[in-house]
């Protein structure tokens, strides 16, 4: 099967998963105590049974389950996720506004974790009993055991009271003026701490994985062949061995995207990063159900897209993978 056929199959499967997410969303809303009528009535400061009934008819709540579900799905198909009464904005607009910040955080943290983790793993694999190896072992214990918000708060304390190098809240400094480049640099400056915090959880996992994977690859026959060809040590390590060791790391990193988004929710809250996580928390505290459901849907969409991208990357790294 060709590259594009396989990718097309993955996209179709991803769409199915998203439909399943929508069904789940809908079921959750239906079985949760209270409905939109209650919410609206609550906002109006109470309403009698007649008005409630009117609202239910207007929102189609009197229809059978499958009709409601079908209407819900057809609306989502044109990216209409409903209206947020709390923010007074369509949910889709609200989410699209916050999505870039979350994508920036999630993607940069993943990239940082994969690159630094792989590098640590390679260095550790060169000397399986050396100091870097020990660090990797220690890091992986720390990364699993340390609550991410705790790491973030410790970093805030460190960088506010001791080394005031990086801003600890928000994404932009409104007092900064200048062209695109200056403002991009400002965002990057704000990004550092949240990115490092989020990456710390996954860095541990990837470095441990890269170390194990490299140790295995370094014993392979083709690495011996590369040495017998008289290639320099760094070519042997970073070209011949690493390219083969990268597969498992990328595979696992791809599976971690939904966990990274979960982590981002917490990290955004800690650093007041204006993304989907912050929005999710606000809408949950405000009982703004359409927004919450919209966020759950969009974040699943992001995971599906990233999974497809990971799959494509794996195929580029390893020509042996033919079919999914």
């Amino acid at each position: 099967m060709s590259f594009w056929n396989t990718i097309a199959k993955r996209v179709g499967y991803g769409l199915l998963l998203l439909v399943a997410v929508l069904v789940l969303n809908f079921i959750l809303i239906s079985i949760a105590p209270g409905d939109i009528a209650d919410t609206i009535a609550g906002d109006m400061g109470g309403a009698d049974a007649e008005v409630m009934e009117e609202i239910r008819v207007r929102y189609g709540l009197d229809q059978p389950f499958y009709v409601q579900l079908w209407r819900y799905m057809s609306r989502v198909a044109v990216l209409d996720l409903g209206y947020s009464y709390f923010f007074n904005t369509p949910v889709t607009t609200l989410i699209l506004e916050k999505l870039p910040a979350t994508l920036l955080l999630v993607f940069s943290a993943q990239i940082l974790a994969v690159i630094v983790g792989t590098f640590l793993g390679v260095v550790a694999a060169k000397k399986p009993n050396g100091i870097v190896s020990l660090t990797v072992t220690f890091l992986s214990l720390f990364g699993f055991a340390a609550p991410v918000f705790w790491t973030g708060i410790l970093l805030i304390i460190l960088f506010v009271s001791i080394f005031p190098l990086f801003p600890v809240a928000g994404m932009i400094d409104v007092t900064v003026e200048g062209g695109f480049f200056v403002r991009a640099l400002d965002v990057l400056h704000h990004l550092i701490l949240p990115m490092v915090t989020l990456a710390s959880i996954f860095l541990a996992l990837y470095s441990r994985l890269a170390r194990a994977s490299m140790l295995e690859v370094l014993g392979a026959d083709y690495v011996r062949t590369a040495r017998a060809k008289g290639l320099p040590q760094r070519t042997v390590l970073y070209k011949h061995a690493l390219r083969n060791a990268l597969g498992p790391v990328v595979t696992v990193a791809g599976l971690q995207f939904s966990a990274v988004i979960s982590g981002a929710v917490v990290v955004e809250t800690v650093f007041s990063w204006p993304g989907l996580g912050t929005l999710a928390l606000q809408s949950i505290l405000a009982r703004d159900t359409p927004t919450i459901m919209g966020i759950l849907f969009f974040s699943s969409l992001v995971v599906v897209v990233f999974n497809i991208l990971t799959d494509a990357t794996l195929r580029l790294i390893d020509p042996r993978i033919k079919t999914g």
Binding site: P147, W150, A280, S300, V303
Partner: protein, 290 residues
């Protein structure tokens, strides 16, 4: 075969052998010692230090050591040491209960998928994949938001979203063991499916499931802490995450009120994962020999 000579050899009970291997592992023993100390602290501590964790006892946010309050006071002037003890009980109870839920779901899904194969396996594994696509924390936030924050909903919300890893491990173990001779023999006989799944295969599939379940307790504790930190927990119940969440606005004046419970969580999960590594080393060599 020289099996006849077996009585001459000193044969250890497998459990004794595993325990011996576990106790040879220094970091696993350290983890066990750490966990026992934490359990003593949270469950025996309150008898030695009977202070109500909800009672205001001193000036809010006073530094550890002041006026005899070893770990200081929180933003309401409550004794953090007492809160650590009470909160530990809740955090660990939720962690354990949520882990039990996720292990029950995960083992069921994995066992049926691995045992029956075919369409059943396909459907169950797609179901598992579906749960892997949902960002777990967001999903459990949604559950808590829709059904209210109580001890029960929080525990359920954690358990319901964290079973996928257990399901995968269980399935692959079942796939492997299903093909072994003694299972095929029992299968071709008249043994019922339920008997085969729970009495024949499951006991042999346990070692990696136990390792995974142990790690689940750790991640459930972390999960509860994250939810509490976000303010999605029962405010009337003290847990470590709750202490962190409620004191978060004051981190710049009183970082200790957040750092201390965070450290407690860190130590607990660290102890659990050290034990997990030890269990893995003790249980898995057995697996390969079989």
């Amino acid at each position: 075969m020289t099996d006849h000579a077996a009585p001459a050899l000193k044969v250890q009970h497998p459990l004794t052998e595993m325990a011996a291997m576990f106790f040879q592992n220094r970091s696993a023993v350290a983890g066990l010692a750490l966990l026992i100390s934490i359990l003593l602290f949270t469950f025996v501590g309150p008898y030695l230090y009977p202070t109500d964790p909800f009672e205001m006892v001193w000036t809010p946010l006073s530094f550890p050591g002041e006026e005899g309050f070893l770990l200081g006071t929180d933003y309401l002037g409550r004794d953090i040491l007492a809160a650590m003890m009470a909160g530990g009980q809740v955090s660990m109870a939720i962690g354990l209960a949520a882990a039990v839920i996720s292990v029950v779901i995960g083992v069921s899904v994995g066992a049926f998928a691995g045992y029956y194969g075919g369409v059943v396996e396909e459907a169950l594994m797609r179901f598992t994949e579906f749960f892997q696509v949902l960002p777990t924390l967001l999903f459990s936030m949604v559950i808590v938001a829709l059904f209210g924050a109580s001890l029960l909903t929080v525990t359920l919300a954690i358990g319901v979203v964290s079973w996928t890893a257990v399901a995968r491990v269980t399935r692959s173990e079942f796939l492997r063991i299903r093909e072994l001779e003694y299972v095929s023999a029992a299968r071709s006989g008249s043994a019922r499916d339920g008997y085969l799944i729970f009495r024949v295969i499951l006991p042999n599939a346990l070692p990696p499931i136990i390792v995974q379940a142990n790690l689940m307790v750790g991640s459930a504790i972390l999960f509860e802490a994250a939810l509490s930190f976000l303010g999605l927990s029962d405010p009337n119940i003290m847990s470590w995450g709750q202490v962190i969440g409620s004191n978060r606005p004051y981190i710049l004046d009183a970082g200790f009120a957040v750092a201390i419970p965070g450290f407690a969580i860190f130590l607990t999960v660290l102890a659990i994962s050290l034990i997990g590594d030890g269990l893995n080393d003790a249980l898995n060599p057995k697996l390969r020999q079989r």
